[in-house]
Symmetry: C2
Subunit: 144 residues, 2 copies
DNA sequence: TCAAAATAGGATAAAATTATCCGAATTAAA
DNA sequence: TTTAATTCGGATAATTTTATCCTATTTTGA
């Protein structure tokens, strides 16, 4: 569904959000450990998220990654997915046609419509806050 | 969403079905031309579909690919997707966790539930017959 | 000011996916 | 029986994705 990079990016963002509530900046190392991801590869993804202003970074001692507390509830899953994978997953053609729309639909265009729309609205209506709270309460998990 | 291989596989299957209604066996070459795919790569995918009994092949002159007419309506999109991509797309964890279920859900498990289920039922309830008929009637297209 | 702790970023490698090439095997018609 | 038209299957190459390594740069505290 998502690329590995995107999976890591989502999990990392949740962990960062969780700590930002506690005013704690987290290091690459602790992120990779927490979400079970390769460190150097995760670094690239985090850089990407920083460039897209999904998260903030701070170099140097006591540096790390964070998200402004007030912004956590405004960061949608769609922002993260878009930054890493682009929007092809919910706006591209399911069969890879260059032009695929109501006037020139691919064979599964209409069949896919509701799936795509449900996915899109899910991504656009899910924010980091709720995801972080579920991790905090033990209702969901970042690894295993 | 799907791999390129899977996209080609779906389109090829539709084209084969369409011709099988007319009792015409289609060659690799005409398939690749019709669905705009690289010939040799398409050959590999068709071999895969043959091995999974989604389509039949006949070697030699006047050979090619076909699907038994009576079976066309029984071939579901899920069969094709499964043969090529496996079932991870609608049964695997959205964030790649090894174990992700009601008892140990990943952060997006519940959010994804309806999307996954909709996708799954769509794939399991869409058969080649309807897809082929829409191509035939000009209601949908295999390329561009 | 210096040392330690971090992220940033470029270069490279490994693995997976996508794509190509070619000879072998099979089939039907001439 | 030969020939032409096919699929099959193995080897290989190109591209993309995933992953690693190393050095530069930044930041803070001692």
């Amino acid at each position: 569904m998502f690329s590995k990079a995107c999976e890591y990016g989502i999990k990392a963002s949740i962990f960062i959000a969780l700590n930002s509530y506690k005013n704690v900046r987290v290091s690459l190392k602790s992120i990779a450990k927490e979400i079970n991801s390769p460190e150097a590869f995760t670094a690239k993804i985090l850089q990407d998220l920083v460039r897209h202003h999904v998260i903030n970074s701070m170099k140097g001692a006591y540096g790390g990654f964070e998200i402004e507390k007030e912004l956590i509830s405004t960061v949608k899953l769609s922002h993260i997915v878009n930054a890493i994978d682009g929007d092809a997953i919910y706006s591209g053609c399911g069969l890879g046609l260059h032009t695929c729309d109501e006037n020139h639909p691919c064979p599964v265009h209409h069949k896919f419509k509701s799936v795509r729309e449900e996915l899109k609205s899910m991504l656009e209506n899910t924010n980091l806050e709720e995801l972080a709270l579920n991790i905090k309460s033990g209702a969901s998990f970042l690894k295993v």
